[in-house]
């Protein structure tokens, strides 16, 4: 049984080699505003660290930037919120199941939190019910969370409704946390926006959108450079026939291959993306999207960066 967390860690180590080592940890460490005032020690500056944490006097003496470290008075709690309805079992923009992308994203953030010494919990579910797993530390626990997400998402699951999970979090969690929401291309309606505003007031909220498979034509050009080989495979050959997971309705690819349909679909999608973006920006929620599990690492990095800047 291959471990889901192993896959996450290998993906992260590849990314860490590409970027500066430890950069992600620095980015993650800056997410929280809350810090104790008890000085612990100094460590070398890592890109992504807050500039205001630099101990300028010590740096001047030492010759290179040093960061003041404080004793973490309490453990932060990271709550992974995701959708395990049947929408997430459908294919993503890159061609793999959306739940694979979601598991990768959840794993990356969960593992960063684990390295930072935080506890990680999970809220997942579908239209019918939401369930939660308590926040605990440890890789085994993280693996259990990822497995819960992976196993409960299937084509036979009830329909998706991320709004249900968000209200569940709002109802059941009083403690201040970092919420990491992974969902597909939902467009928040007024009710969900209200819930999000309520959550945003209490928690830090990060949002990652898993891109849906393109239903008409090839993917929009220049969206994610890492996805080019997958998109190339998609455009070659005849358009694939698909079916809707909601009602098993057949969607013949040939019908969606005409220029007018592609143009209309692209316009509608742009509108949906803009609507989602504007709602989340209005609420001050950092948002990023990923089309495949290759996109997850840069996406999470960008997300943390955006969140830090947005503060």
């Amino acid at each position: 049984m291959s471990s889901l967390l192993t896959r996450v860690k290998s993906k992260m180590s590849i990314f860490a080699h590409r970027k500066a080592r430890g950069m992600l940890d620095g980015e993650y460490g800056s997410v929280f505003k809350g810090r104790s005032l008890d000085f612990d020690d100094l460590r070398a500056y890592l890109p992504g660290d807050e500039v205001r944490d630099i101990d300028w006097k010590a740096s001047a003496r030492h010759g290179s930037p040093l960061i003041k470290r404080y004793v973490a008075v309490r453990r932060q709690t990271v709550l992974l919120v995701t959708d395990t309805g049947r929408n997430m079992a459908a294919s993503s923009l890159g061609g793999e199941a959306k739940k694979d992308v979601a598991v990768m994203a959840l794993g990356v953030v969960g593992y960063l939190a684990h390295r930072h010494g935080d506890v990680v919990g999970l809220v997942c579910g579908d239209e019918a019910e939401s369930r939660s797993l308590p926040a605990k530390a440890g890789e085994a626990h993280l693996e259990r969370l990822l497995r819960a997400v992976n196993d409960s998402t299937a084509l036979t699951s009830p329909r998706s409704s991320i709004g249900e999970q968000l209200s569940y979090v709002a109802r059941n969690f009083g403690q201040r946390m970092l919420l990491f929401v992974v969902a597909d291309e939902v467009v928040p309606d007024a009710g969900m926006e209200r819930v999000l505003r309520r959550l945003r007031a209490q928690h830090e909220v990060l949002w990652l959108t898993v891109r849906d498979a393109q239903l008409a034509g090839a993917g929009p050009a220049g969206l994610q450079p890492a996805r080019t080989e997958a998109a190339g495979a998609q455009t070659a050959g005849p358009p694939a026939d698909r079916y809707d997971v909601a009602d098993a309705g057949l969607l013949p690819g040939r019908l969606a291959a005409s220029d007018t349909v592609i143009r209309a679909y692209a316009a509608a999608q742009e509108q949906r993306d803009a609507a989602r973006e504007s709602v989340l920006r209005r609420l001050g929620i950092a948002h990023v999207q990923a089309g495949s599990s290759h996109d997850v690492m840069p996406a999470v990095f960008t997300l943390l960066e955006r969140h830090r800047r947005g503060k």
Binding site: R86, N87, M88, A89, A90, S91, K98, L155, S160, D184, E185, D212, A213, L215, A216, A240, D241, R242, Y243, D244, V245, A246, D247, A248, G249, L250, L251, P252, R254, L255, A256, S258, T260, V261, R263, A264, Y265, A268, Q269, R272
Partner: protein, 337 residues
């Protein structure tokens, strides 16, 4: 209208049902190969997509109807629709040899007789005609044939020869080889020999020769000068033996009284002895009448038995199949593009 291979239809229906069942089974298996996607309504609710679906559906309907019609029409054509009708074909299976005495005593009437023969040949359809000319010896100008253009051509040459047109004298070459002149008995015997063999599986091998009536139209005045190998009576007996009727035309009957040794009476006896007839004529214009009479008696003697004819009537289903096939090709092209 009836179907010759009527069992084709239930067989094809069974086959079609089996194919449909198999296709349905495979269709269900194919669902697993499709890619599942979420938010399908975001595509299906687009008016542009709905228009494309309507268009697609319209062409699918056209293709389905055309395909169904094509298969039904092909099936009907394969079952061989046939029309059964009863016909009684008019059979004119007569062989007629024109036997012309070219002796000097006939020269005044020959041209007119040939002209009548020519007119006769124009009205024929299905009969075979031959022409033999004799004087002291017989020459077959042309054997039995139904090539009427050729017959006309030869009769035209004969007319020119009898009219004494320049350059036509060669037509009668070979009729003076024997001793004497106007050897009527020899001439008739030669004409009678000009028919194909009468015995079963005869010379022509078709076996059809027995069913054809044989007639000789013998135009002569029966003035013999010389010693024939066959006398007229012997030749008539040969004709009777071969079942050939002799119709004698005598353009110059100069008999007096009832003496049976006179040339006219002798000829009459010979002709009537074979089942034919004798016509003493003073005017060559009457020849047409006689020939018509000969023809009419012969025609009533040969009426064919009614016959059932079965003919394939596949043109309508095949035409429908062609049209629906073209429609199907067009619709398929639209669906593919």
């Amino acid at each position: 209208m009836e179907l010759i291979f009527w069992w084709m239809i239930p067989a094809a229906l069974l086959l079609g049902a089996g194919t449909y069942w198999l296709a349905r089974k495979r269709e269900q298996g194919r669902q697993a190969a499709l890619r599942p996607v979420a938010h399908g309504h975001r595509l299906t609710e687009l008016p542009e997509y709905q228009a494309a679906v309507r268009r697609h559906r319209r062409w699918l309907t056209v293709a389905a109807i055309a395909g169904g019609v094509l298969m039904a029409a092909a099936l009907v054509a394969a079952a061989r629709p046939a029309g059964r009708s009863t016909i009684s074909p008019e059979q004119r299976n007569r062989d007629i040899i024109l036997c012309l005495d070219a002796s000097g005593s006939m020269s005044s009437a020959d041209a007119a007789v040939v002209e009548v023969f020519a007119r006769l040949a124009q009205g024929f359809d299905g009969e075979r005609l031959g022409l033999t000319v004799f004087d002291s010896s017989a020459v077959q100008v042309f054997p039995l044939t139904d090539d009427y253009d050729f017959v006309q051509e030869q009769l035209q040459a004969a007319r020119e020869a009898f009219d004494g047109a320049p350059g036509s004298a060669g037509f009668l070459d070979g009729t003076w080889n024997g001793a004497g002149s106007s050897l009527i008995g020899d001439g008739l015997a030669s004409c009678v020999q000009g028919f194909p063999a009468t015995d079963g599986g005869g010379a022509d091998g078709s076996g059809g020769s027995e069913e054809r009536s044989r007639s000789v139209v013998l135009a002569t005045d029966n003035f013999v000068s010389g010693e024939p190998i066959f006398t007229l009576t012997e030749a008539a007996a040969l004709a009777r033996k071969k079942d050939v009727r002799v119709y004698a035309l005598n353009p110059g009957d100069f008999d007096y009284g009832t003496d049976p040794d006179q040339p006219g009476a002798e000829l009459r006896a010979a002709a009537e002895g074979t089942g034919g007839a004798y016509y003493p004529l003073d005017s060559p214009d009457a020849v047409a009448d006689i020939i018509r009479k000969v023809q009419s008696t012969e025609a009533t003697a040969f009426t064919a038995a009614p016959k059932a004819v079965v003919s394939d009537r596949a043109e309508i289903p095949l035409g429908i199949a062609l049209v629906s096939g073209l429609v199907l090709a067009g619709a398929t092209w639209r669906l593919r593009s």
